[in-house]
C-alpha cells in the first residue's frame, strides 16, 4: 500500500466551507464554484470584491472568502463602479440574476457596459424571479407559465424576452460579452473558459465584461433537475443562443 496519494480535486481557497441554501438542481452552485476556481487560479483572492444582488444569490457573500458587499436590487453595477474607481487595481465583479440585472437594474447594467470600465458581471439567466417564487422575468420565454403569467407569457400582454448579451454587445464599451450554459459538463467547461476571458478582460484593464449563464430553476419550473437541464437545451437555447458576442482585442 505504498501508493502515492495526490490531491486531484479540492475545495477552492476562495470557497468558504459552508453548505449553500440553493435548491437541489439549481446551477447557482455551479456558477459559484467556477467563480471560486477562477479567483484561485488567477491569484485574485486578495484583491477581489464581489457585489451581490437581490435575488437567490443575495447571500452569496456567505460562501466566499474574499471581500463582499450586498447591493440594492439592480444596483450592483453602480456599486461596483463606486468600488472600482476607489481602487482600480482591485478585482470587482457583480453576480446578478435576470430580474435584478435585466429588469430593475437595466439602466445600471447598460451604463456600466457603456462606460466600459473594467468590471466583470456574472449574469444568471434562469427565466424567472427565483427567490420571490417564480414570477415572470424579462427573460421568461414566450408561452412560459410563471406565477404572474399563469396562462403563459404572451407578447400582447407581457412583451418579449430580452436578449441581454446581444443587446450589450452593440455598445462600444464592453471588452467581452458571452452567453454560456450550465446544463452539462461540456458546457460548464466552456462556461469556465468564458469566465476566464471575462476575468482577464478586467485584470488586463481592457474593459467591461459579462458572461450570461443559462441556468436552471427546478423548484419554480416545477421540473426535476435532469428535466431542467433538458429544458435549457430544448427550449432556452433556441431563444438564447450560446456564443461570444463581443471579444475586444487583447482578451484571452
Amino acid at each position: 500500500m505504498a501508493e502515492e496519494m495526490k490531491v486531484i480535486y479540492e475545495r477552492p481557497r476562495s470557497w468558504a466551507n459552508k453548505v449553500t441554501h440553493y435548491c437541489p438542481g439549481c446551477t447557482h452552485g455551479v456558477a459559484h464554484r467556477l467563480v471560486a476556481e477562477l479567483v484561485d487560479e488567477m491569484g485574485l483572492l486578495d484583491k477581489t470584491i464581489a457585489v451581490w444582488p437581490v435575488g437567490c444569490a443575495v447571500l452569496g457573500y456567505e460562501y466566499f472568502t474574499f471581500d463582499s458587499v450586498e447591493a440594492a436590487h439592480g444596483r450592483a453595477p453602480a456599486m461596483a463602479t463606486g468600488i472600482k474607481v476607489t481602487n482600480p487595481d482591485n478585482f470587482v465583479f457583480t453576480y446578478q440574476g435576470d430580474g435584478d440585472l435585466a429588469s430593475i437594474g437595466m439602466a445600471e447594467i447598460v451604463h456600466a457596459a457603456a462606460r466600459g470600465w473594467p468590471i466583470t458581471v456574472i449574469f444568471i439567466n434562469n427565466g424567472n424571479y427565483g427567490m420571490t417564487g417564480g414570477q415572470m422575468a424579462p427573460t421568461t420565454l414566450l408561452g412560459q407559465k410563471t406565477t404572474t403569467s399563469p396562462l403563459g407569457r404572451t407578447p400582447q400582454t407581457n412583451g418579449f424576452p430580452i436578449r441581454v448579451a446581444e443587446m450589450l454587445a452593440q455598445l462600444d464599451g464592453p471588452a467581452y460579452i458571452a452567453r454560456v450554459s450550465l446544463d452539462s459538463p461540456v458546457n460548464i467547461r466552456k462556461a469556465k473558459s468564458a469566465m476566464r476571458k471575462a476575468f482577464n478582460a478586467q485584470v488586463r484593464g481592457i474593459g467591461f465584461s459579462m458572461v450570461e449563464c443559462l441556468s436552471t430553476c427546478p423548484t419554480n419550473w416545477k421540473l426535476t433537475p435532469v428535466e431542467s437541464m433538458e429544458r435549457i437545451r430544448k427550449e432556452v437555447m433556441p431563444y438564447f443562443p450560446l456564443g461570444e458576442f463581443k471579444v475586444a482585442q487583447g482578451v484571452l
Partner: protein
C-alpha cells in the same frame, strides 16, 4: 487657500468638500446645484480624486455606497426630486453603517415643483425618506462660509459615527456669491483606511462583508438596537444651535438655513422698534437642538417658527416647546421667500407688538 475669495455658493461648497478630504464624487445634473458637479469634474482630477457623472440619482447614490464601502471620503449632491430618488440608497448605506455625505439644494415641490429656494424636504431629511429605522445627521448652514466650514464637520461626523451626513441648503445659498475662506485643509494622506472597508483582503486573515441584510428577526432587532444606541449618542453629543440676540430676548424666531439668515434682519428691524426679539437657529436639524430651545423657555413669552415649508420645522419645535410657551408659525411655500418685514408682520399679528 487661506485668504478670502469671492465664490459662488455651489462651487464654494464643492471646494469646501474637497478641502475636507472628499476625493470621490458621483452625481447627476439637476438645478439648482449643477455648479457643484461641474466644479467637481474640474477640480477632483487636480487633487487626485475622481468625478463620475452617473446615469441617474439612483446610480449616483449606489456608486457613493460602493465608494463608501471602500472607506474613502465620498459625496454626492442633488436637489429635491433627485434626493427623493436617492432615498433607497441612503437607507441601504445607513443600514450597512458606512459613511458618506449627501448635499441637498432644496427646491420647491412637490413633484417637479420648481427650482426656487425651499425647505420642504425637512421631513424627508430629518424624519426618514427611505425604508426602515435610520437617521442621518443633517447640517443646515445659513451662509456660504458656514457651509464650507460645516463640510469639514460633515465628513468627520460621517466617519466618526459611520453615518450618512446630509447638508441641506437651497438655491439661494447655492447661487449667490460671498467671500469665503477655506480655514481647514484635511491632508488625505493622514486618513487611514478603516478596518471594516471592503478593499480586498491583501493579507487580512478574514473577509470583510458589508450588507444591510439580516434575515433573522432577532438578529435584525439587535442590529437596530445598535443603530438606535448610536443615534442616541449623536443626539446627546452633536446638536448645535446659533443664538442671536437672545440675551435679553422676550421672544424668539426659530428658523434655519436661508430663512434664518433673513430672520436675522427681522430681529434687527424689530429691535429698532423696541421689540426684544432674538433668533434661535438650529445648525443641526437632526439631532434637533431641543434641549437648547427648552433652556430658553422660562425666559420667553413666545416663539415664532419661520420656514420655507408648511409646518415641518414647526413640528419639531412643537415637540420641544409645546405647552411651555406660546408658539406661532409663519411660512411660505413653492419657492416664495418672504422678506424681513413680512416676517415681522407675521410676528406682530400673532404676538401683538411684542411688549
Amino acid at each position: 487657500m487661506s485668504d478670502k475669495v469671492l465664490m459662488k455658493g455651489a462651487e464654494a461648497l464643492a471646494e469646501g468638500a474637497i478641502q475636507a478630504g472628499c476625493r470621490f464624487y458621483f452625481g447627476y445634473p439637476i438645478t439648482p446645484q449643477n455648479e457643484t458637479p461641474e466644479y467637481m469634474s474640474r477640480r477632483l482630477p487636480e487633487v487626485g480624486g475622481r468625478f463620475v457623472q452617473a446615469e441617474s440619482e439612483v446610480a449616483s447614490i449606489n456608486m457613493v455606497y460602493g465608494a463608501a464601502c471602500a472607506g474613502v471620503r465620498v459625496m454626492t449632491s442633488s436637489s429635491s426630486p433627485g434626493i427623493s430618488l436617492m432615498q433607497e440608497g441612503i437607507s441601504y448605506i445607513s443600514g450597512s453603517n458606512v459613511p458618506c455625505v449627501v448635499m441637498n439644494a432644496m427646491r420647491g415641490g412637490p413633484g417637479l415643483g420648481n427650482i426656487a429656494p425651499a425647505q420642504a424636504d425637512y421631513f424627508q431629511a430629518v424624519k426618514g425618506g427611505g425604508n426602515g429605522d435610520y437617521k442621518r445627521i443633517v447640517l443646515a448652514p445659513s451662509s456660504i462660509q458656514e457651509g464650507v466650514d460645516l463640510f469639514v464637520d460633515a465628513f468627520e461626523l460621517a466617519d466618526k459615527y459611520r453615518m450618512v451626513v446630509m447638508v441641506i441648503v437651497d438655491g439661494l445659498i447655492g447661487q449667490m456669491m460671498e467671500p469665503v475662506e477655506f480655514k481647514t485643509k484635511v491632508d488625505v494622506s493622514t486618513l487611514k483606511t478603516p478596518e471594516w472597508a471592503t478593499v480586498g483582503r491583501h493579507g487580512r486573515d478574514h473577509a470583510n462583508v458589508i450588507t444591510s441584510l439580516t434575515l433573522d428577526a432577532a438578529g435584525l432587532e439587535k442590529w437596530n438596537l445598535k443603530l438606535q444606541a448610536k443615534y442616541a449618542q449623536v443626539e446627546r453629543s452633536e446638536s448645535r444651535i446659533e443664538e442671536y440676540q437672545m440675551d435679553d430676548a422676550d421672544y424668539a424666531i426659530i428658523a434655519y438655513g436661508t430663512m434664518a439668515r433673513i430672520a436675522k434682519t427681522t430681529v434687527r428691524v424689530a429691535r429698532a422698534k423696541g421689540i426684544k426679539l432674538g433668533l434661535l437657529r438650529p445648525i443641526t436639524v437632526w439631532p434637533f437642538p431641543a434641549k437648547q430651545l427648552q433652556a430658553y423657555a422660562p425666559k420667553l413669552k413666545g416663539a415664532l417658527t419661520v420656514e420655507l415649508a408648511y409646518r415641518q420645522l414647526f413640528e419639531d419645535v412643537q415637540l420641544a416647546l409645546c405647552g411651555k410657551i406660546p408658539l406661532g408659525w409663519f411660512g411660505r411655500g413653492g419657492g416664495v421667500v418672504p422678506g424681513p418685514q413680512e416676517i415681522l408682520a407675521a410676528f406682530e399679528e400673532q404676538f401683538g407688538k411684542g411688549r
